[in-house]
Subunit: 187 residues, 2 copies
């Protein structure tokens, strides 16, 4: 739900210490509300989050949003676009101030070619995302709202974070009205 990947984070921190060329790899800060990736736009960087929370979401043509994941420490962004040379699949917006490593795409591709360890990390990460995405799609389709709602409430409690009602609804793929109904039902 709130995804993190500390293997990635320590990998990139190590690399950042050694790598002096800030054209290729640099640590940047982004205020809350920044779009790191814009759906259908062209991205020139791959990001790995050092600190903060982002949401990764689709904006559909009917004006509704669907949040795929909340990404936090150590999560990678824009890797799919880099691998497949595509425009951005969805948008990624910062929900808090965010510090992230920005990696040039050619440098990212070099890493993939040369560093077996990095490849493995990435393969592992994509596999985990597939597991999350597909099992969530299944349970969202086949269960009532409350099932997913409980999970997102737990998350906020455990991690001590606050997600706006609108974002919660977008994560569940429902309207605000339905979210409110489900919330009163839980009490």
């Amino acid at each position: 739900m709130l995804r993190t990947n500390h293997f990635f984070l320590s990998f990139i921190e190590n690399l950042h210490e050694k790598q002096a060329n800030i054209e290729e790899l640099s640590l940047k800060t982004f205020p809350k509300g920044t779009f790191l990736l814009k759906q259908d736009g062209r991205s020139s960087k791959v990001f790995i989050i050092k600190e903060g929370i982002t949401k990764c979401f689709f904006s559909e043509e009917n004006g509704k949003d669907y949040i795929v994941e909340f990404l936090s420490e150590g999560e990678i962004l824009g890797e799919i676009e880099a691998i497949r040379n595509n425009n951005c699949l969805c948008s990624v917006e910062t929900l808090t101030d965010v510090e992230a490593y920005a990696i040039n795409i050619p440098f990212f591709k070099q890493l993939l070619e040369k560093d077996l360890n990095f490849q493995k990390l990435l393969l592992d990460e994509l596999a985990e995302r597939l597991i999350n995405t597909s099992s969530r799609a299944s349970s969202q389709q086949l269960y009532t709202i409350e099932y997913g709602l409980k999970k997102i409430l737990e998350l906020q409690y455990k991690q001590n974070i606050v997600i706006s009602k609108e974002d919660m609804a977008a994560y569940l793929g429902i309207t605000l009205r339905s979210l409110n109904r489900a919330l009163t039902n839980l009490k």
Copy 2:
């Protein structure tokens, strides 16, 4: 929707010609209705389909099924489980008679370590699956049934295949009754 990957297929066909050890890699046939993977079960093989159609689906505890994808020529199965050493995430059942290459997991892992080309193919495949899975989750949540229904009808027409109503409903994450209603609405 009906996924194929001809790069994988020619890769594995090449390898199969060279590789004499049938313990590691062999071509097998499975009659319609065979479970190549069983949800929560342990798998000892990774498969690459040579011919035929399979469905990859979750069985939820409430008795409902959700079909993630229909996999056909060149698609790989069980790779996520092999990469992450997990039990099977979902089941894969053959919808027609199927011919598939069965790869021993240790041999699969060796391939991943040694063959840069294979790694790239797999990374590309996982990336594409993420694109499909997440964008489908989004549109299924945010649009009416008819949107997805039209696509699955097109598929059957173009590919000249027949999917049972039950499977169509499971793919759309709805009940048979709702599927029938949507079908009459389309006329």
